[in-house]
Subunit: 181 residues, 2 copies
Amino acid sequence: MPHIKLPEGYYGISSLFQYSPETALPMRLLAERILRKESLLSNFERETIAAFVSSLNECEYCTNSHTAIAKAANEAEQEIVDAVIKDYKSAPINDLMKALLTIAKKVQQDAKKVLQKDIELALSNGATDEMIHDTVLIAAAFCMYNKYVDGLATVPIQDVSLYNEEAQIIKERGYDKKETF
Amino acid sequence: MPHIKLPEGYYGISSLFQYSPETALPMRLLAERILRKESLLSNFERETIAAFVSSLNECEYCTNSHTAIAKAANEAEQEIVDAVIKDYKSAPINDLMKALLTIAKKVQQDAKKVLQKDIELALSNGATDEMIHDTVLIAAAFCMYNKYVDGLATVPIQDVSLYNEEAQIIKERGYDKKETF
């Protein structure tokens, strides 16, 4: 049961966005910009980072939600998302993505743990400053979304197939439309 | 030295907002709404929560920055901010604020640690759902700002008096004006 009285019929962050539309607006806009605006990292890669960080924070709603959104973004490589969450170091992804996920994991744990050698490993595998920036910001932002969702004990979606429906809506409309979720 | 090449002459999150104006916009707007919009918690109380969470994350720039902003918001009670950061349980604040800081601290550590008994303690000391919501969101959002600032190893302001100048500008203009910082 949520820690505060939230509108019924909504789950996870959607119930918080309904409760507090004024703070929802910048949070939706930020999600749109870090996950879907033009970037050197694909939408699929960025949603995979979001799902990965959410899994490290053990946020059920956000992990399921962004796993489904990542899979919807790249239906041919759906198994990659689960493999990353299970053990990203042995997942079938390139060394660049592994280096970025290492940075994301350190940001989730303690951002001061991101060392120059982690950055150098990413750069030597083809990362740009922008990719490193985007990875750190996605990891930091998902710590916020995850903590917001779990700190208020929101209810995750029970019927897992609904995450796929939600993912299709976000794929079509984006995060920043009020009517999306 | 920052992990990526950032504009010179800027510090902490300002250097990141200069680097990435497109993501800065929703992050500024969120800060304005969680710290300065009308709320049952005063601007001083909310800035104190922000400074407290930043200190738990050991984010030098954000701790100094929001300590100065909190002090600028309530010049008569400046010593409260330092006392909260040093040991909030013995600080000269009421039991409601202590209960909210306990919730904020748990959100910072692991949001799942916020238990029904923590909420009940806050409610029994006069908290409303809105106060609890705002406290959790401020704590979660400052984990984002802190991790963004430290994950990219931005440079804190060296001359501590400049935090006070910055605080006066934010007090007058708010966070959401592009020219603020």
